[in-house]
C-alpha cells in the first residue's frame, strides 16, 4: 500500500514514515506543506494521503482545505486527516459530502498502531475513520427525548464503533464478541434508532452519522 505523508513537524513525519515502513507500507512521498502535497498526490497517485490539518503558512486549516481539493481532483485517493484537536462540528462538515475514503483522527491515535493501521487500510478501501472523541461528543450530548437513552451500554459501545467507521469484524475483535452477538446488537440498534438496515459498512456509517446529526439539530 502506498502512502503520502504531509506533516510539517519533521520529528513526527519521520517517525510516522519509519513506523509505516516497518509495517510494510510504501512511503511514496513525505512533504511539509499543502502545495507540495498537491504535487505529490498528483505525481504518485497514492492509496492514502495522511495529512496534518495545521500546516504552514497560516497554521490553521491548510490541511483540511488541501484535503477537500484533493478529494475533488482525485476521488480515488483516500485521505486521513490528523489533528491536535478534533471538533464534532469540523467532522460533520468534513464528512457531510463524501464520507467515502476519508478519515479524521486525533494525532495521538498513531500510538495505537494496530487501530491506526486498520484506519489507514479502511480509508484506502473507501471506508471511513472517525475519531472516537468526535463520536463521544456526538453521542455524549444529552437531549430531551433521547433515543440513545434506550440503548443498552453494550449497544452504545457498538454504536460508537460503527460511527467510527468500523466493520462488524473489527467490532468483534475490539469488543471480543462473536460475529453473531455483534450482528444481534447492530440489528437491535437499528431498530431502536428507527434506521433501515444497511448491509454496506460505508452506508451504515452515513446512516449513523445522519442520525446523530439529526439528534444534534433537535
Amino acid at each position: 500500500m502506498r502512502v503520502v505523508i504531509a506533516e510539517d513537524s519533521v520529528l513526527l513525519r519521520e517517525g510516522l514514515a519509519r513506523m509505516l515502513a516497518d509495517e510494510g507500507f510504501e512511503i511514496a512521498a513525505q512533504v511539509d506543506n499543502a502545495d507540495a502535497l498537491h504535487h505529490a498526490v498528483h505525481r504518485e497517485k497514492p492509496d492514502v494521503a495522511i495529512v496534518d490539518v495545521r500546516m504552514p503558512p497560516t497554521q490553521t486549516d491548510e490541511g483540511a482545505r488541501a484535503a477537500r481539493e484533493i478529494r475533488a481532483a482525485h476521488p480515488e485517493v483516500g485521505i486521513l486527516l490528523l489533528s491536535q484537536v478534533v471538533e464534532a462540528k469540523h467532522a460533520l462538515e468534513l464528512f457531510s459530502e463524501h464520507p467515502e475514503g476519508f478519515g479524521y483522527l486525533l494525532k495521538d491515535r498513531v500510538l495505537e498502531i494496530d487501530d491506526f493501521l486498520e484506519a489507514i487500510r479502511r480509508v484506502a478501501r473507501g471506508g471511513t475513520a472517525i475519531d472516537p472523541e468526535v463520536v463521544a461528543q456526538l453521542m455524549g450530548r444529552r437531549r430531551t427525548a433521547d433515543p440513545l437513552a434506550e440503548l443498552s451500554p453494550r449497544e452504545r459501545e457498538v454504536l460508537a464503533l460503527m460511527a467510527e467507521g468500523r466493520s462488524n469484524q473489527a467490532i468483534c475483535r475490539k469488543l471480543f464478541l462473536s460475529p453473531k452477538t455483534v450482528e444481534t446488537h447492530v440489528h437491535s440498534i437499528f431498530l431502536k434508532l428507527n434506521l433501515p438496515p444497511e448491509a454496506d459498512d460505508h452506508r451504515r456509517v452515513l446512516a449513523v452519522l445522519a442520525q446523530l446529526r439529526s439528534l444534534e439539530g433537535g
Binding site: L11, L12, M19, Q59, T60, E87, K89, K107, R141, R143
Partner: protein, 584 residues
C-alpha cells in the same frame, strides 16, 4: 499716526477740489458739474469712512485700506489732464482705485483677506489693473480717442509704437478680463462667504451684499459702454447715479458693520455672573452667548500631556491660522490655560476676548481639572482594553505553541518508543516491553493533559470558527445537558474570547455547585451589545464576587466597557448575564 490722519483730511479736501476742476476743465461735454461732484463725493465717502475706521480701530488695516481707495479714486481723475506727465502717470495708476475698493471689501471686517482664492483674486486684480493701462500707454494713438476720454488728443510719455487699433482692443480685453472675469469671481467669492458664514458672522457680513450689487452695477456699466454700438444716454444716466449711490453707501456700510461688530461690554459682566452659577459643561454655552458666537468651542490645555482637550477629555486639534475659525489663547502667569476657538470676525475684539477669558479663567481652570480627570479615565479604560487584548493574544500564542511545540514532540517521541517496542516484538525481555508500554501510556496521558490545558487557555475552535462553534463544543463537553443559542456572526476577538470565558466559568460553576439538571447558554446581539447569558435550574445562591472566578471575569467584561451581573436567589437557579459592547 493721529497727526497723519489729521493731515489727510485737508489733503482729501484739496485733492477733491482739484479732481473736480480737472474733470470740468478737460472733459468738456462728457461731464457735468453734478457728475464731477458726485465722483468726488464717492471718493470722499471712502476717505471719510476709512479715517473714522482707522481712528476707532488702529490695529485694523481696513481703515487705511478704505482711505487709500478714496485717495486713489480722487487721483484717478488726474488722468483727464491734458498735461502729458499727469496723463501718463495717472492713466497708468487709475484702475488701481477699484483694486483697492475690492481689496477693502475682501478684507472686511478684520483687515486681513481670508481664504486662498480671495488672496489670489486680490493679487491678480492689482496686477491686471496696473498692467493693462501700462500696455495701453505703450501703443496709445493720440488720434484715436479712448473710451471715457474726450476726443482731444493727449500724449503718452511711454509711447513706443503708435497703434490705435491695438490700444482700443487692449481696452476691450481689459474690460472683458477685469469687469467680466475678475468681477464675476469677486461677486461669487463674496456671496459664497455670505452663504457659508455662521449666523453671527452673517449679521456682520451684510455689507458684502451691497458690495456685490455695486460691483455688478459697475461691471454692467463698463461692459455696456465698451461694447454697445450706440449706448443710450438714459441708461448711462441711470447706471451712473445708481453707481454713485452704491459707492457712497459701500464705505459707510463697511464702517458701520465694522463698528457694530464691537460687542457690548455688558456681555462680560453678565458672563462673570453666569459663570458663577454655570456647571463646567455650561462654560462653553456662557462664553458663546457672551461673545455672540454660537459656534464657539473651548479647548482646555493639559500641561502634562501637552495637548488641548475638550470638556470630556478628548484631544482637540486647533484650526490653522487664516481660516474662518480663529484661536485665542488664554494664559495665566505665562502658562497656557485654554484656547477659545471662535469665528474669525471676533478677532476685532481682542480686549473683549481677553476680558471674557479673564472672567472665565477660574471656571476654565476648574473645567480643565475635570477634563484632565476624564482624559485620564479614558486612558485607563483604553489601557485596560489593551491589556485584555494583549492577554488574549498571549493566550492564543500559548495555545498554538502547546499544539505545535510540546504536544507535537511528545506524540513524536511516543511514536518512536512505540516503533521501538514493535521492532523488539514479543521476543525480548518482558520487563523492557512493559517499561516501553508504560512510557507510551504516560506520554499519551501527558498529550491528553496538554490538549485539555491548551483548550482551557484558548480553544482553537474559538479562533477558527468563532463564538457559536466554541460554545457548541463547550456544551458537548459539559456533563450537564446544555442548550446553546448563539448568533453565528464573527465578532472582535476580545469580545468573543470574553463571552466564551464567561460561559466557560459559568458552566463550570453549574457543574460544580448548582446541582442543576439542565442549563442554557445564549449569546445574542442586542443594541450594539453582545449579551452572553448562562442560566441553570440549580440551587442558586451564587455571588459575583465570591471565589467563583466570576470576579476576574467581571473585570474583564468591564475592561471592554461592559458589565457582568449574577442573579442567583437561593433555590431559584442562577443566571449570569454579561453585556459586552461590540459595535460593528
Amino acid at each position: 499716526m493721529r497727526a497723519l490722519r489729521f493731515a489727510l483730511v485737508p489733503a482729501a479736501i484739496a485733492l477733491g477740489v482739484v479732481a473736480y476742476r480737472i474733470q470740468l476743465d478737460n472733459l468738456g461735454a462728457a461731464t457735468t458739474p453734478a457728475r464731477s461732484l458726485a465722483i468726488v463725493a464717492v471718493a470722499w465717502a471712502f476717505v471719510g469712512a476709512g479715517l473714522v475706521a482707522w481712528a476707532r480701530r488702529p490695529g485694523n488695516r481696513l481703515g487705511p485700506l478704505l482711505a487709500a481707495a478714496g485717495f486713489a479714486l480722487l487721483l484717478r481723475q488726474l488722468r483727464y489732464s491734458h498735461d502729458a506727465g499727469l496723463f501718463t502717470v495717472f492713466f497708468a495708476l487709475s484702475e488701481l482705485s477699484y483694486a483697492l475698493v475690492a481689496h477693502s471689501v475682501l478684507a472686511y471686517p478684520s483687515g486681513r483677506v481670508v481664504g486662498r482664492p480671495e488672496r489670489v483674486l486680490v493679487r491678480v486684480g492689482y496686477a491686471s489693473m496696473l498692467l493693462f493701462p501700462l500696455a495701453i500707454l505703450l501703443v496709445y494713438d493720440a488720434s484715436r480717442p479712448l473710451r471715457f476720454l474726450d476726443p482731444t488728443a493727449r500724449d503718452s510719455l511711454l509711447l513706443v509704437w503708435e497703434n490705435g487699433a491695438l490700444a482700443v482692443n487692449l481696452q476691450k480685453a481689459f474690460v472683458v478680463f477685469v469687469w467680466g472675469v475678475l468681477a464675476s469671481a469677486f461677486i461669487f467669492l463674496v456671496l459664497r462667504r455670505l452663504v457659508r458664514a455662521t449666523p453671527r458672522a452673517r449679521r456682520i457680513l451684510a455689507p458684502l451684499l451691497l458690495a456685490a450689487v455695486v460691483f455688478a452695477l459697475r461691471a454692467v456699466f463698463e461692459c455696456v459702454f465698451t461694447f454697445a454700438e450706440r449706448p443710450s444716454e438714459i441708461l448711462y444716466v441711470y447706471l451712473f447715479w445708481w453707481q454713485v449711490a452704491g459707492f457712497v453707501a459701500l464705505p459707510l456700510a463697511l464702517l458701520a458693520g465694522m463698528l457694530r461688530a464691537r460687542l457690548a461690554r455688558a456681555g462680560v459682566a453678565e458672563l462673570v455672573l453666569e459663570l458663577e452659577r454655570a456647571p463646567p459643561q455650561g462654560l462653553r454655552d456662557a462664553l458663546a452667548r457672551a461673545l455672540g458666537d454660537p459656534t464657539l468651542e473651548v479647548a482646555l490645555w493639559l500641561p502634562e500631556r501637552s495637548e488641548y482637550v475638550d470638556a470630556s477629555g478628548r484631544p482637540v486639534t486647533l484650526p490653522d491660522e487664516g481660516g474662518a475659525r480663529t484661536v485665542t489663547l488664554l494664559e495665566h502667569e505665562g502658562e497656557p490655560v485654554a484656547a477659545i476657538v471662535h469665528d474669525a470676525t471676533l478677532v476685532d475684539e481682542p480686549e473683549l476676548l481677553r476680558a471674557s477669558g479673564a472672567a472665565a479663567r477660574m471656571a476654565l481652570e476648574n473645567a480643565r481639572l475635570q477634563a484632565e480627570m476624564r482624559a485620564q479615565l479614558a486612558e485607563v479604560q483604553r489601557s485596560r482594553a489593551r491589556i485584555v487584548a494583549a492577554a488574549d493574544e498571549e493566550r492564543r500564542r500559548i495555545e498554538r505553541d502547546l499544539h505545535d511545540g510540546a504536544q507535537q514532540r511528545l506524540v513524536a517521541l511516543a511514536l518512536e518508543l512505540r516503533t521501538a517496542q514493535r521492532r523488539l516484538g514479543g521476543s525480548t525481555d518482558p520487563e523492557l516491553e512493559r517499561i516501553l508500554a508504560a512510557s507510551v501510556d504516560e506520554l499519551q496521558a501527558a498529550v491528553d493533559e496538554l490538549r485539555e490545558l491548551a483548550r482551557g487557555v484558548h480553544p482553537a475552535i474559538l479562533t477558527e470558527d468563532g463564538l457559536a462553534a466554541a460554545l457548541e463544543s463547550l456544551s458537548s463537553r459539559t456533563p450537564v445537558p446544555v442548550t446553546v443559542d448563539a448568533c453565528g456572526d464573527r465578532l472582535p476577538p476580545q469580545v468573543e474570547a470574553t463571552a466564551y470565558f464567561v460561559a466557560c466559568e459559568a458552566l463550570a460553576n453549574v457543574v460544580k455547585h448548582s446541582g442543576a439538571s439542565a442549563a442554557t447558554v445564549t449569546a445574542l446581539r442586542r443594541n450594539g451589545m453582545l449579551v452572553i447569558e448562562v442560566e441553570d435550574d440549580g440551587v442558586g445562591g451564587a455571588h459575583a464576587d465570591g471565589g467563583s472566578g466570576l470576579r476576574g471575569l467581571a473585570d474583564r467584561v468591564e475592561a471592554l466597557g461592559g458589565r457582568l451581573r449574577v442573579v442567583s436567589p437561593a433555590g431559584g437557579g442562577t443566571r449570569v448575564v454579561g453585556e459586552i459592547p461590540c459595535a460593528s
